[in-house]
Symmetry: D2
Subunit: 421 residues, 4 copies
């Protein structure tokens, strides 16, 4: 066991932290002004992207990139600590071409795109020319069980025709978003519990019949780039747009979600660190009853609990990354549920404490806390609600217990110690 980062990762962390400090943080105010005013595409983003590209802080993930593709080819355990740093400012990952859902989509295309799909979509994504979205969740299907998804992808001659309604589609309003990866039913005749009923398909955003019904406010927050409700009405695309084979939708989703969740979780860790830093700074500045808040033992406890919780969560995420790298995504399935649970709940808990230290100011847009809380709360549903992941973890544990049954009998004080019957 070794808890230190490799020299390579240490070097990249330092380089990335400097980039954040010298280029991204100073641009934060401008980003909020320009994005809030809808001045897309944002020139500051394009400028920062160029700089990051030239510094080779680009496509930090995706270990298996082709020889000619730009990128660092990092393993999960190498990428995770960088995701933490990028996550500190929510719009920063785009600068390094590491935004969700693009990272996951690039991974998917990398694994299963045909050469034509690759040329049309993956290559522009890899150089940051376009962006993409991932259309899976539906308003009428409990996301706790994705088999409920009922958008249809129906073969019709050389085309597929898509009908359905999707929601919470992140990034769909970004003006560079050119393609959606859509999950739907291709084999309606299979029984509802089948994992072979669904497929994924590439749908250009300008295809007729695809419309954006609304940009859904999340706890009143309107993302400038959208968490959208999208309608697909007789949306027709060539059959060659299918990603992988028919009926492999769940297989693809599974491949895609593991690393993506590690990324999400590490960005969350970064955001929790920001909240804890803000909490400490405010506690050092603000006074009540003649003392700084940092001198009150209850505030100190909040700070300490936050540190303990963040450090434990980070280790759990890093361990999951390690297992994915060494034993494969499938072997780390329960680990991924575990980190998803831990990270999402961590963020609301820690940000809530920070807000309380800020007083009413913590509710306003004058700090990043209201955004961070909101995003944390949304994380408790994204990729499945907490309860689904608790179920995955408990079922794995109970399965272990079944194979182990009776093993603990020796732990018990023997009945012979009881008085005779």
């Amino acid at each position: 066991m070794d808890f230190d980062h490799s020299a390579k990762v240490q070097r990249l962390r330092a380089q990335l932290a400097d980039f954040m400090r010298f280029y991204v943080e100073p641009a934060n105010a401008d980003w909020h002004r320009d994005a809030g005013a809808g001045r897309y595409p944002l020139p500051l983003i394009e400028r920062l992207k160029s700089r990051a590209f030239s510094e080779e802080l680009w496509n930090l993930f995706l270990p298996g990139l082709g020889d000619n593709d730009p990128g660092q080819r990092l393993s999960n355990i190498e990428y995770a600590p960088l995701a933490e740093i990028m996550g500190r400012i929510h719009w920063a990952p785009e600068v390094f071409n590491c935004s969700a859902p693009d990272t996951g989509n690039m991974e998917l295309l990398h694994l299963s795109a045909t050469p034509a799909q690759r040329a049309q979509w993956l290559e522009p994504l890899l150089i940051g020319e376009i962006r993409s979205c991932f259309a899976m969740s539906e308003p009428d299907a409990a996301s706790s069980d994705a088999r409920n998804i009922r958008t249809t992808i129906t073969r019709d001659g050389d085309d597929y025709v898509i009908n359905g309604r999707k929601w919470f589609i992140t990034g769909a309003l970004h003006p560079n978003c050119r393609v959606a990866i859509v999950m739907g039913v291709t084999s309606e005749h299979l029984e509802p519990n089948s994992l072979q009923r669904h497929s994924m398909i590439l749908v250009p955003m300008d295809t007729p019949g695809l419309s954006i019904a609304r940009n859904i406010p999340i706890m009143h927050y309107h993302s400038p780039e959208g968490h959208c409700e999208m309608i697909f009405r007789d949306v027709r695309v060539p059959a060659s747009n299918l990603l992988g084979e028919e009926g492999k939708g769940f297989k693809l989703a599974q491949d895609r979600l593991g690393p993506g969740r590690v990324h999400h979780c590490m960005r969350t860790i970064g955001q929790c660190e920001v909240a804890l830093e803000l909490m400490c700074e405010r506690a050092l500045e603000r006074k009540a009853f003649g003392k700084h808040l940092a001198d009150f033992a209850n505030i100190q406890d909040w700070i300490a609990e936050s540190r303990l919780e963040i450090d434990q969560a980070r280790l759990l995420v890093m361990q999951a990354a390690h297992r994915m790298d060494r034993y494969g995504n499938a072997a780390a399935r329960v680990d991924v549920s575990a980190i998803k649970l831990v990270a999402a709940r961590l963020q609301t808990r820690i940000v809530d404490r920070a807000m309380q230290v800020f007083g009413a100011m913590g509710l306003t847009p004058d700090t990043p806390l209201s955004y961070l809380w909101t995003w944390g709360r949304a994380m408790r549903f994204l990729d499945g609600p907490d309860e689904v992941h608790l179920r995955v973890v408990s079922r794995a544990e109970i399965a272990k217990a079944k194979t182990n049954a009776g093993r603990n009998a020796s732990q018990f004080v023997p009945p012979s110690l009881l008085m005779p019957d």
Copy 2:
């Protein structure tokens, strides 16, 4: 970063787990019967010790042992996973000569004993011939600040004379316990906050004036080997019994406590795993309202939460062990407070859930749960109450924030977004 154990540790873990399974667990009923009846020294322990010694599962800790001393010389990160396995049965560590407080005392003697002290006490301890206790806590001194300790160790000619009252002295009633390491004030003239006022001294248990006032029940539990209240009235020992130099008591305590806490914490992790296994087994056996308890979603949630909490805690402890090995005990001071906090609270929380799954049986001695809860509750005071460790962690965090002040300003939405004043 690497989350896998080395091949050496994997081999030792397998060997130790087999030893526990084939020799220790089957003896558990006998231990309870014999220890409960006070049949000390317990023949079964001596028999198991011989076997462990001959299998070289002996003195698994203490990396710096002398060439002729028996032992594995493992680093903290190598020893910790073995402590987890031994900790599953509370009397098991003695079998491997790895019991508290002997491990810490051996470490202390190894670091600071004179050749004579070494020959008299360390060597018999290393071969498991004698046992020892560590007399630090006092009823009238808040253990949250050890500078309050007021037992006196007064120089009188060639002797020191000890007066005071100690309590919660673990193992003092074990018939093999031959020596106490006693902490007390040697320099009363120094100001109360000084860290140079205290020293440690070796006191044979049969020294006149040393008496055991009572074996203190802990939550009604009477340990057969004692958590004792001890009285020192004009206890006279040769000046050569002083451990290290006068005034170095705190320095020695600090050296001793770090590894000892890692050991405690990993035994706790082992006990939490036992509780979780029992919880799962019971949930698979017991029915209510026509279903197994394992089929109720609330019980499932308890199981999953327990798994998440144990895994995170273990990683935090392992990371602390790593830091002690690589950067020294002093560098890991805050880490050690952190793991002490996390582990102690973990044990009561998880055992409490397991008890609830067992129903009223969980309160009885028919399972190990009541003992495990009690020990976990005591852990929340041993080596300092939770609140002291929260304070250590929060102070470290706030100190970091001070050096970082103003760094986060760029995170804030700029005032220019506000309407003009």
Copy 3:
């Protein structure tokens, strides 16, 4: 609504509090010494009983007592605040002939005893001449569903013959305990879910075949008066010992449990007040880092949270008492589950905080806290585990929601606000 006690209750409260202060509290040390040494019957108890009887602080409950029976005939809402005061010292209720399980047993006998049963058992109980126990729980039946009880009560000529094993039978070792009320199956032929399979029967403690297997330690605590495991092997009593009619066991249990739970809960409230008083006193005495514990904001928070929780719990219990008085025990069924839940969890939570303020001393018998915690933990199983009562409360709430379905639709922002489909 009126939250003040009646003048009568205020007068009784003052009288009882004085009695506790001047007679019971000063005898506490003696009780522990004598009961600990097993010097039963305890002369101090008999002396205090005489005094309480002569002051008419006797049988404070049981509104429907006969004309010649001694007692105050208080309603539940009048009795509850007195139970709180008596509950502060766990052995005090016996002084006022208000101990569990006698109060519940007297209530049962009052409701359903034949004249002969009344003369033989109720009258001696009402004057405190004898005590009794209540044998319901069984080791092999999940107490979450009492229909699992399988002790048999089999008609054989003019007798019933009882076979089975009971446990956690409180008070069975008290030397004055002369009779057990035993719950068992009289109609084995009825289907397992039937609520008419069980009956209750009076069994004198000296009946051949009745034996006490052990006094079960509860979290290592050995009650001097017993929480016993009892064995019934061919225990034969006259058929006239049946309480009420055959098959009415559950009906009787239901009648008995409501008021008994209010009593338990109010005693719990009294014990929580003791724990909070101790916590405050200790916080005012003990110093750490140069300040009294009472000056640390985290300790202050524990104190405040405890006050908030106790006050809310007391009100909930009083409301349940009110509803039982005004609308009958059946109408208050869900309320009684609610208070059982709230009170049991309250006690462990508050006592745990108090223990933490006391430091390691909080684990010892030098304060009442270890006993109070243990009793609180047991309360989480007595009369059904928490989870059974949560189930009762949630089912009632969900049943309400079913009748209310669709009522809240108007709360929703109308779909017309969405963009057109």
Copy 4:
């Protein structure tokens, strides 16, 4: 003690609930559409006000109204259950002229207005012709200690001149809002801890120098009626606008806050009931893994816990109302801190559970939950952050302990039980 409402209150509750059901709930969609579009003054509100006025569901609070003033003159304990009903829909109280901050302002004016002030401001408020705001909080003053308020109210000839910045001023953007009650420093020469430095003054909203800097989003929520940041720059009003005497600002604030907090708390209870109803309805409709959510034991537990918490909180609030009515606002000061704490934390906790049952939909404006959570979170700061109220409660408890010191000694097991020293 009596936990039933009086016949009068039962009648009013039924009448009000019918009004809500038949007139207010059906208008909810229109309110959201019109208020969202800024169509103020809202014709539907004026129409509903007329109807409520004619049904005498008007000014339900304010027991001491003048003979000619319209209103029900209810005591706190009578008004509280009606506030619960009105609180279910956040804009409903205005219909009954019971909105915050108008109720508190009317109370203030009723207690201290001159006849001229009364005629100019109280009378139009009582008939619902105008609305008002209350300007106390400041961005640069920790609201935990209102003595930090530093807006100045400086005497200048026959006028007062006001300078300062206020924020979170609720209702300041309502077009009917005609007057602000402003708190500020009139006696700057007094020492900072003095409670006589501040006064309140009436400032018409159209006074030159008064401007609204922004409508502060609260967790991204823009209230159509405003939680505003207001700037006072050389705002000049006649000296006769002072409310009460100079230096009585805190005295007035104290009088005003007690009943206002009871109202807030009971509206909170009403909102928690809405959230619980929604949670149950959704749990009955939505399926996961083939079962309704209402059939999962973890969801059942959330429902039961919510019921327990709401019922306890309601009783605590009602008890505070009772004490204010019977013993005066001053006597209920600690009770008011207690209910403020309990209610604010209740709302976020219960709404959070409901959101989780709704899945991602719980984050959207398609249910009232996101608004209810946000308002609950704000409540944790309004009228002082939680920590200030915890402090009030703990200080009262510790003060009690001081007078009681040593009383519990008898609870302790006597030292004579210990072995001799």
